[in-house]
């Protein structure tokens, strides 16, 4: 019996012995191995070729490990295996000639955080909205914030780390995520075109389908520079007009009406400080020099809780930090205006600056043309000029701290005899912001800002024996802090708090030299706001992401001030009270809840639903559709109740072809309360009882916005269509009936097209079609003292004819010479190619040769309008 058992046993031993005899000690076998960007599987194959060893492994288990670079000569296989498998969750075991590869640990429940800053390698500029992903079994991704900071919390494991940003080469690298650590990323620009390289492009790859936010757009500064513009000057605010839901009240001007709101309902921020008058030359140019800018985002309607203070939109404009690697100068010279930008490092890779200046003197040209009788400008003493300066300094204080200081100042002088020969207007904005970024820990990022805005405006009456200077100002100081807390990849909280102090002088007059006037000043209006917000983004399962937030503001109007009390219809004063300095005259509390839900239908399509309430505690008293720089901003008080609006939005979004194409459709409905309008023929000059000239009312609007965009390829651009209706109702205006504002346009269609013909030649075209705006026409005429005058009934009851035009432009870059630092490009553009004389305004007025007759006339702005310009950089 025993002998039978013995035989298999002996056989096994024999086999084993036979195998054993051939088994090699991996601690003794030496090989030379060279691996370049190889996968682990390739490494194992090579070792198999060099030895008699055979590897046994689960293919999926080692698939994630690639990009191995290894070079060793005459080392033991044991060492090779230890090297290759270190920093992985694998271990090897030798069984005879087989090397078995197994997982060492079970998936750990430990989580680690990978965080850092994403910057452009050439300039060191931080990239806003770059997509950062960590991929393994699951993919975790996030987007960098306004300072280029990201944070991802993942279970400890090995992953592939990738980062992408439009205009830059994608970065992909393996990462061993076993400990929380900082991982700063530098991306290389994709385009080799030198002029483009330094321009920081925006708009990360996080597609419109994914983000739980509706009604937002980001514009690349490089795209803004390509869009053909009147006068050939790239303009941030005019470019936004090609997006759905955004229109201008009048052609050629920069005042924006977003989703049927008036132009004072947009919060325009430059590096977080509000800019109160964002335009030069009465709205023809915007106050932003695109050479100094990095990023422009617009949020329509339901905007994130960290923004507040206006009803319709937030336009967040960020300046470049300045190239922290090398010095660079860029600019443009033109007859109308010239620009120069100088940026560079102060301490390489640690601190940098950017200085940008722009100057224009169109009045000088008009005067020259007038004096040689080439044109008729009525006089050779016109004064139409402006300048703006942007300066920014930033420095890295430590691995966790960064400090920024930005300043902007701009000033306009405007006397154009053609328009108004009785006064010279002057106005200017100054903003200063100081910001400090601090990374508390890998999940918690904080930014604290101190912001100052000063807007002053004045006019001087000319050659009138009543000459005087009228002036007003608005000064605002805000201290706030914003925190981003990446709790884990399913939950992101943004919260913050702050306080704003504002001081407004609504009007003051001072006598001129030969004057018959005396000094009169209206009361200052002071106020403060204390605000706090919470914005919570939560992922519920795979398809649903909800973003909900609340912003709360406590507003108080403060003394010292003499406050009047009026009768029921605010036509007469019945009482007045004096409030000493600092005493609260009236306070209001505004709670602004917001919620957006995003439901992913597939990985490339989604539906979104949103609701939000917005408050606005300041009011622009403007008596014209475009607005004069001398319009007055006043804070809320006993009679100017804070305006607020509710908006409901729903939308469908889809991307095609790996984000090459994106399509979106949004529907919105909004209702606004406590909007104000002036009585007919309001007297607003130095009126310390201005409340008697204001009437409160309500507004509503609804619309459909459709957009189709091509992001990639040599031909790109977008098409947008908006159908919208806006209405207001004010007791005391238009016989108390609902009426449309001047900027209500039923249909609005825009097409922006850009084609890269070659490396040096770029062609763009844009087409706009818009239904006519509304104007007030008289109901009839009557004679008074033998002159015919007009009487009116309906406000804005007449619709102008439709507006449409086509613009084209071509940019031709000079040949790129590697050793020559100077690079230039020529820009040729034609505005209004088919010379359509679109109606700009319609008015009825007396026939100058025959006062008992009136005539209706249509004003048109311009026909075909070609321009040529030259840009340089070195």
């Amino acid at each position: 019996m025993r002998s039978i058992a013995l035989v298999p046993g002996l056989l096994c031993c024999l086999l084993f012995q036979v195998i054993n005899v051939d088994a090699q000690d991996i601690g003794k076998i030496t090989i030379s191995l060279e691996l370049k960007n190889a996968t682990l599987e390739e490494a194992f194959n090579k070792i198999e070729n060099l030895t008699t060893l055979k590897f046994n492994y689960e293919t999926s288990g080692i698939a994630g490990i690639k990009g191995i670079n290894y070079r060793q000569t005459n080392v033991t296989v044991k060492k090779v295996l230890s090297d290759l498998l270190s920093h992985t969750s694998l271990q090897y075991e030798q069984v005879q000639n087989y090397i078995l590869i197994k997982r060492t640990k079970t998936r750990s429940s430990k989580t680690v955080t990978i965080y850092g800053f994403v910057t452009a390698v050439n300039s060191g500029e931080s990239l806003i909205g770059a997509t950062v992903s960590i991929t393994g079994d699951k993919t975790y991704s996030s987007v960098t914030n306004a300072y280029g900071f990201y944070s991802l919390t993942v279970p400890a494991d090995d992953y592939m780390f990738s980062c992408s940003y439009v205009g830059f080469q994608d970065l992909e690298t393996p990462i061993a995520a076993y400990e929380t650590h900082r991982n700063n990323i530098e991306l290389v620009t994709k385009e080799s075109d030198a002029l483009q390289a330094v321009m920081v492009t925006t708009s990360g790859k996080k597609s419109i389908v994914q983000s739980p936010i509706t009604g937002s757009h980001q514009l690349k500064i490089s795209d803004i520079k390509k869009i053909a513009m009147a006068g050939g000057e790239p303009d941030v605010l005019k470019s936004l007009q090609f997006l759905p839901g955004i229109q201008t009240s009048n052609e050629g001007t920069t005042n924006l009406s977003v989703r049927g709101g008036s132009y004072d309902e947009n919060l325009i921020l430059l590096d977080e400080a509000p800019v109160y008058n964002p335009s030069h030359t009465l709205g023809f140019f915007s106050a932003f020099n695109t050479d100094a800018l990095k990023d422009v985002s617009i949020y329509k309607g339901v905007f994130p809780a960290r923004y507040g203070g206006r009803l319709s939109s937030v336009i967040d404009i960020r300046m470049k930090e300045g190239n922290s690697r090398e010095q660079a100068v860029a600019g443009g010279i033109g007859l109308l205006a010239s620009r120069l930008t100088w940026e560079g490092p102060i301490k390489k890779n640690k601190s940098s600056f950017i200085l940008s200046a722009r100057y224009s003197n169109i009045g000088g040209l008009l005067n020259l043309g007038n004096s040689v009788h080439f044109i008729d400008a009525r006089t050779s003493k016109n004064k139409v000029s402006f300048y703006d300066l942007n300066a920014k300094f930033n420095t890295v204080l430590s691995a966790k701290d960064r400090f920024y200081l930005s300043a902007y100042t701009g000033h306009d002088d405007f006397f154009l005899a053609l328009l108004d020969n009785s006064r010279l207007m002057k106005w200017g904005n100054t903003t200063v912001t100081a910001r400090w970024n601090h990374v508390f820990n890998p999940e918690l990022f904080a930014n604290t800002s101190l912001l100052y805005s000063n807007y002053n405006y004045s006019y001087v009456t000319l050659s009138d024996s009543r000459d005087f200077t009228w002036s007003a100002y608005l000064r605002e100081l805000t201290l706030k802090t914003d925190l981003d807390w990446n709790i884990n990849t399913k939950n992101l909280v943004k919260f913050g708090t702050g306080v704003t102090l504002q001081d407004v002088l609504p009007a003051k007059t001072e006598p001129g030299k030969i004057s018959n006037t005396k000094e009169v000043s209206l009361n200052n209006r002071s106020s403060f706001q204390l605000f706090a917000y919470v914005d919570y983004e939560q992922k519920i399962g795979k398809p649903i992401s909800i973003s909900y937030g609340l912003r709360a503001t406590e507003f108080a109007a403060l003394g010292d001030a003499l406050v009047y009390r009026y009768n029921a219809d605010t036509t007469a004063v019945i009482d007045s009270t004096w409030y000493p300095k600092g005493k609260i005259i009236q306070s209001y509390f505004g709670a602004e809840p917001k919620i957006t839900a995003r439901v992913l239908l597939t990985s490339t399509s989604s539906l979104k639903f949103a609701y939000g309430r917005n408050y606005q505690f300041q009011h622009l008293l403007t008596n014209s559709s475009v607005g004069l720089p001398t319009d007055i901003w006043v804070p809320s008080d006993t009679y100017f109740k804070p305006q607020y609006s509710d908006q409901f939005t729903t939308g469908a979004y889809k991307t095609f072809n790996n984000n090459s194409w994106e399509a979106s459709m949004e529907l919105y409905y909004r209702k606004s309360y406590h909007i104000i309008d002036f009585r007919d023929n309001a007297d607003i000059f130095l009126n310390n009882k201005i409340e008697t000239q204001i009437l409160p009312g309500q507004a509503k609007g609804y619309g459909l916005e459709f957009m189709l965009k091509k992001n990639k390829g040599r031909s790109n651009g977008w098409l947008s269509y908006t159908y919208s209706r806006a209405l207001r109702q004010v007791n005391g205006v238009n016989n108390n009936k609902w009426y449309p504002p001047t900027y209500d346009h039923r249909h609005n269609f825009s097409l922006v097209f850009n084609h890269e013909v070659s490396k040096r030649l770029n062609f763009s075209a844009n087409f706009v079609y818009r239904s006519g705006g509304h104007v007030t026409i008289p109901e009839g005429t009557y004679l008074f003292r033998r002159t015919r005058f007009l009487y009116y009934s309906d406000r804005n009851g007449y619709m102008l004819p439709a507006y449409h035009r086509l613009d084209i432009s071509a940019v031709w870059a000079e040949k790129f010479k590697a050793r020559r630092k100077w690079q230039g490009e020529w820009v040729l553009s034609v505005y209004n190619v088919y010379n359509r004389k679109n109606a700009f305004a319609l008015f009825v007025s007396q026939d100058p040769y025959n006062l008992d007759t009136v005539k209706a006339s249509e004003v048109y702005l311009t026909g075909i309008f070609p321009t040529i310009a030259y840009n340089f950089k070195f």
Partner: protein
């Protein structure tokens, strides 16, 4: 900035000037009445004109040769003006001729002749009615009643006292913002600071009816200017030391500006400072805005001039105290 000079120059001119005629049809609104009535402290009679509104933009065609359209006149209305001292005056159609003094100025001396004068433009065929006995006295209130068929209209106007003109002078000064010089009539008077005042400043080249409430005497180039320059005392200093009298000129007339500001030596002009109530000030300010409207989008939305006549009539009934002086 990239652009050609030509391009933007054209653009900026276009911003304010490229206009073309527009064919506007006003539809058929309900007809309303327009009333123009004035009482003053100057010598009477005073006039009230009643016309009908229309949807017509007015007479199209060539420059008129003195004819004014009479189709809008309202005749046969009952017009009564009464004051707060018990005087009630029913107005009558003006006669074709009236015997009154006409004035002239020679070698620094004011001279007058008593003669027969034609009212011409202020005729019943154009809807004018004149007073027979009532006088305008500062500090009193006047009431207007008009009955046309079954419709009735009322208005009340207070006659505020005006500051007296100390003197008037013609001085060489800057006429235009571009620095061009010329002569302007300047007024000197004490402005009462403790009360709210509104003023109208005018000047007339024709002094034939010097003390009479302006009737046949006309403002020169009346077809091209609006002689209603209004001033609010909000920022006037206690003593007004040379406030210029201005005129509101159409934008077309601006091309040949200054014609009305030509004052040949020896030719006198009459400068008038009139008081206004708030209603009258607002009315004249608004019609001046209509006059200056050139389609600029930088101007406020146009609206009807607020009148002070109840019953839904357009126009104004006003009472004014006038202080006037001659200057040469």
């Amino acid at each position: 900035m990239k652009s050609s000079a030509l391009a933007l120059i054209i653009y900026l001119i276009s911003t304010t000037g490229c206009t073309k005629d527009y064919n506007l049809n006003l539809g058929s609104p309900k007809t309303v009445y327009a009333i123009d009535g004035r009482i003053s402290t100057m010598r009477g009679p005073y006039f009230v004109q009643i016309t009908k509104s229309s949807n017509s933009l007015g007479r199209q065609g060539s420059f008129p040769t003195g004819l004014i359209d009479t189709t809008y006149a309202v005749k046969g209305a009952l017009v009564v003006i009464s004051d707060d001292m018990g005087v009630t005056d029913t107005l009558v159609p003006p006669p074709d001729y009236v015997d009154e003094y006409t004035y002239s100025y020679q070698n620094g001396k004011l001279d007058s002749t008593f003669e027969s004068v034609s009212y011409g433009l202020y005729s019943y065929s154009q809807g004018y009615y004149q007073t027979t006995k009532i006088h305008g006295i500062a500090g009193h209130t006047y009431h207007l009643l008009i009955r046309i068929g079954t419709e009735e209209f009322h208005s009340t106007a207070y006659l505020p006292p005006v500051a007296a003109l100390d003197s008037v002078a013609l001085k060489d000064t800057i006429v235009d913002p571009d620095g061009s010089r010329g002569k302007l009539p300047l007024t000197y008077f004490k402005e009462p600071q403790n009360e709210k005042n509104y003023y109208m400043l005018q000047f007339m080249h024709d002094i034939r009816e010097y003390p009479y409430d302006v009737t046949t005497g006309s403002f020169r180039y009346e077809q091209l200017i609006l002689p209603y320059y209004t001033v609010d005392d909000k920022i006037l200093s206690p003593y007004v030391n040379g406030l210029a009298v201005r005129e509101i000129i159409t934008s077309q007339y601006k091309y040949s500006r200054g014609l009305d500001y030509q004052f040949p030596p020896g030719m006198p002009i009459q400068v008038l400072l009139s008081s206004l109530t708030r209603d009258a000030y607002e009315y004249f300010t608004v019609i001046a805005n209509q006059f200056e409207d050139d389609g600029s989008v930088y101007k406020p939305v146009p609206a009807s001039a607020p009148g002070n006549i109840s019953g839904g009539a357009l126009g104004l009934f006003w009472a004014t105290d006038v202080s006037y002086k001659l200057v040469d």
